[in-house]
């Protein structure tokens, strides 16, 4: 399942419809960036997203909803090679 077509840039995507019943923002026809609001609340569905990832030595796309049915720990951090 490793993605062999490696482009230089690949922005993350979200929120995706499906796992969350929250409304999905729509990009207008001018292509301008819509405002992205914080949607994460305890007791509420975790907003779904898709991002490219380094996993098992290769690159592949990962969706949060791929892990439906399992406990997931989602950890954000400021950057690779930082000190803490």
């Amino acid at each position: 399942m490793t993605d062999e077509s490696v482009s230089c840039t690949q922005p993350a995507r979200g929120p995706l419809a499906g796992l969350s019943d929250a409304p999905v923002p729509i990009t207008d026809s001018t292509g301008s960036e819509e405002e992205i609001r914080m949607m994460a609340r305890v007791g509420q569905p975790a907003p779904d997203f898709e991002a490219t990832a380094f996993v098992d030595g290769g690159f592949k796309n990962v969706k949060l909803s791929d892990f439906s049915g399992h406990w997931v720990l989602l950890c954000f951090y400021p950057g690779d090679f930082t000190f803490v």
């Binding site: 993350a12 914080m38 994460a40 990832a53 406990w71 950057g79 690779d80």
Partner: protein
């Protein structure tokens, strides 16, 4: 339990970080997917994106098998996480899900839990006393 780590670094950076540093801290390197939040969309949705710095600050979200967020913790970058507190929360929320019992303040695995019922109202003091508070 599946772990997903997320930063605004590219997947290429994740690969080299794994090769050059993480694999020297953890035998074999970390085993979970390292996601690239290029553009910061995921961080914005989860309320952890720092617009000025252009990075996702330290935040973690515990998501149950139904896809519901059960716990979150967000911190500024200079203080690292406490893995023991995280593991305590994971065990507590998994226990709640399996048994319907609830955990009083300061609960640790193996300590008594509470079974919510009309009979417990006003009687919590009989089964639980806070520790470390004088």
């Amino acid at each position: 339990m599946h772990v997903l780590s997320v930063s605004t670094d590219s997947r290429f950076s994740h690969k080299i970080w794994q090769a050059e540093e993480l694999s020297k801290m953890v035998p074999g390197g970390v085993q979970w997917p390292m996601l690239s939040d290029a553009g910061g969309r995921i961080g914005r949705i989860y309320g952890v994106y720092d617009e000025q710095a252009g990075v996702d600050i330290r935040g973690r979200f515990l998501i149950d098998p139904d896809g519901v967020i059960q716990a979150m913790e967000v911190m500024t970058p200079s203080v690292g996480r406490n893995i023991n507190e995280l593991l305590r929360q994971v065990k507590a929320f998994q226990h709640v899900r399996e048994t319907g019992e609830v955990m009083p303040a300061g609960w640790e695995p193996g300590k008594p839990t509470l079974k919510p019922s009309p009979n417990l109202v006003g009687k919590v003091w009989e089964v639980w006393k806070p520790e470390g508070i004088s």
